[in-house]
């Protein structure tokens, strides 16, 4: 396993020694899940969720919310400018 690559894909910044430890733990878990290779899955359909429901539709509509709630959502943002969430530039 290329642990650095996985950490990058997962967007988790970790120190070298933490990554090393994680690599050991992950390989123990992967050994454990190897067991699944024994199962005969020929002609078995995969489950895709918890229920057999499919294509649940609803109206795509704006539900009015009060300003207090909007402010509460914005107040949770780490950085904000007026009524916007401030983000570092995506394109330099």
């Amino acid at each position: 396993m290329d642990i650095d690559h996985i950490a990058k894909l997962a967007r988790i910044g970790l120190k070298e020694e933490e990554l090393k430890k994680l690599e050991g733990e992950l390989s123990a878990i992967l050994d454990f899940i190897e067991k699944l290779k024994e199962v005969d899955i020929e002609n078995v359909k995969p489950m895709t969720g918890g229920t057999d429901l499919a294509n649940i539709m609803r109206e795509d509509e704006v539900i009015p919310r009060d300003d207090k709630q909007r402010q509460r959502i914005l107040a949770n943002a780490p950085k904000r400018k007026d009524d916007y969430i401030e983000v570092k530039a995506v394109f330099e």
């Binding site: 733990e25 992950l26 359909k45 570092k88």
Partner: protein, 510 residues
């Protein structure tokens, strides 16, 4: 008896007869929290102000109107991954240390309609990932039966709070056993409803094809009152279904004017009282019921004393008239491996929202991060705990290019086989009875450094989530002074039968 020790039903009766007020009941609970929670650490926040306001409102409603639902004025503790408008919601994670919920979860909305009293938010493994509550960023919860032991997890705070009488009932969430396993470890009742029964809107997601909210309570009948109140379809959760358990009179009534006296639902307070006061119980109340005992749940790894207790309970059920049938669920041994592919996959996707941008703690605020990517890396590296990082990494790996078929797709096929095992068994029997966990509560620190060993604590609860079935854990005695949980698993949507079996067992073992 102290007020905080009452069940929902006893509390509701006392409130109705004006033996005490909701304010008195709530104060009793809050006082016990103040007194005991230093040792147990079941609560992450105590919402005293909100609770007293709700209690006064409940008292006022009850004074105006005799018609009340069984939950009005009754204190509840809520697992800290369920949003309560305006209250801090951490999910046991450092990354949500300062997060204030901007709305009510649907279950909270429903409980507020029933006029319950919210006394606080309970401790949990970070984002519900764990089986001992040791993964909380805010210190572990201790088992009220033995402070050296874990309460189980991830709803360990809710289970401990109910067990220590720091609340009348609690809400938890169950993805792989997180309601049932701690209920078993703490000697209380825990119900994981059928997937789709209860809306998850406002539940902080862990693994969305498994997560389900349910009650932790002191009795099975109490758990049923709560289930009635929180279940039903919700436009905000497209996996919820229209099989509403709520008595018709609970729906659409003006706030608080919830009338239990007119509906004929199985679990109305009136019926329950009548049932309990009916002394002419049949000698074989379980006659006609077929109970399946899955061989695989008594295989290697089970503690001998736990097995003994469960076998005793099965014998008791046989003596109550049930027919006991041995069944096999052959794919049980693969359930754990299957779960630890699917869950991390869903986790890695659900946890992507903790990016240090929209909400939660961030490294952007202190100006250290130079660009967008660094905000992600540093915020997630700094504020997500070990088990959460482990699962995100594992999920990212098994979903990464080239591995999808070997891991995720294969696991989803094995999941189908696990579900079919149950469906075949239910052609033969009405319910399955098994231990909730292979052991009683283990020592703090015993499994924390060995993830696979920790995962095995959920060996008997995980298959139920994979198959999306409802299951109940109820206490069935002590082994070495620690509670043993008895698990009753039902068909899809058939909470009614497992609750009925649980109630009959409960009544006959008092």
């Amino acid at each position: 008896m102290n007020l905080n020790e009452l069940t929902i039903k006893q509390a509701a009766e006392g409130l109705r007869k004006k033996d005490f007020s909701s304010v008195e009941l709530t104060e009793a609970v809050l006082n016990v929290i103040k007194d005991k929670d230093k040792d147990i650490n079941a609560f992450l926040s105590v919402t005293e102000e909100l609770a007293m306001k709700q209690a006064r409102a409940a008292d006022k409603l009850m004074a105006d109107d005799e018609k009340i639902n069984p939950l009005i004025g009754v204190p509840v503790a809520v697992k800290d991954c369920i949003l309560v408008d305006g209250v801090r919601c951490t999910a046991g994670s450092k990354i949500l240390e300062n997060y204030i919920a901007p709305y009510d979860a649907t279950v909270i909305k429903k409980l507020k309609e029933a006029c319950v009293v919210i006394v606080g938010k309970t401790n949990m493994d970070e984002f519900a990932m764990g089986s001992s509550t040791e993964n909380s960023a805010y210190g572990m919860t201790k088992n009220p039966y033995d402070l050296e032991k874990v309460p189980g997890g991830s709803s360990g705070g809710s289970a401990a709070a109910v067990a220590a009488n720091e609340t009348i009932f609690a809400l938890g969430s169950d993805t792989g056993g997180s309601i049932r396993q701690p209920a078993g470890f703490c000697g209380v009742v825990g119900l994981k409803p059928t997937y789709g029964r209860v809306s998850r809107h406002g539940l902080i997601a862990m693994a969305s094809s498994h997560d389900q909210i349910g009650p932790l309570a002191k009795t099975v009948e109490d758990a049923e009152f709560v289930l009635d109140a929180i279940s039903g379809i919700d436009g905000f959760d497209s996996t919820s279904v229209s099989k509403d358990r709520r008595p018709a009179s609970w729906r659409g009534s003006p706030k608080g004017r919830l009338d239990y006296s007119t509906h004929s639902g199985q679990s109305s307070l009136k019926d329950a009282i009548n049932e309990l006061n009916n002394n002419s119980l049949p000698s074989a109340p379980l006659k006609g019921l077929k109970i399946g005992i899955p061989d695989e749940y008594f295989a290697e790894g089970i503690d001998k004393q736990v097995e003994e207790k469960i076998r005793e309970s099965i014998l008791k059920m046989e003596n109550l008239g049930a027919e006991i049938i041995s069944v096999s669920l052959p794919h049980t041994k693969y359930a754990m491996a299957c779960y630890y592919i699917i869950i991390p996959s869903e986790v890695s996707s659900n946890m992507a929202r903790y990016d240090g941008i929209k909400f939660g703690k961030s490294q952007s605020a202190n100006g250290e991060a130079q660009n967008l990517l660094e905000i992600y890396l540093k915020s997630r590296g700094e504020y997500l705990g070990r088990e959460v990082r482990r699962r995100i990494m594992l999920g990212t790996y098994v979903l990464s290019a080239g591995y999808y078929d070997a891991y995720y797709l294969r696991a989803q096929k094995v999941r189908t086989l696990v579900k079919q095992d149950f469906e075949k068994a239910f052609e033969q029997v009405d319910v399955l009875v098994a231990p909730t966990s292979p052991t009683t509560a283990f020592k703090i620190g015993e499994k924390i450094d060995d993830p696979v060993k920790m995962y095995l604590a959920d060996a008997y609860t995980i298959p139920v989530n994979l198959a999306a079935l409802p299951a109940l854990s109820m206490p069935c005695g002590l082994a070495d002074g620690l509670p043993v949980g008895l698990q009753i698993i039902g068909r899809h949507w058939d909470e009614k039968t497992i609750l009925a079996v649980g109630k009959i067992y409960e009544r006959n073992s008092r």
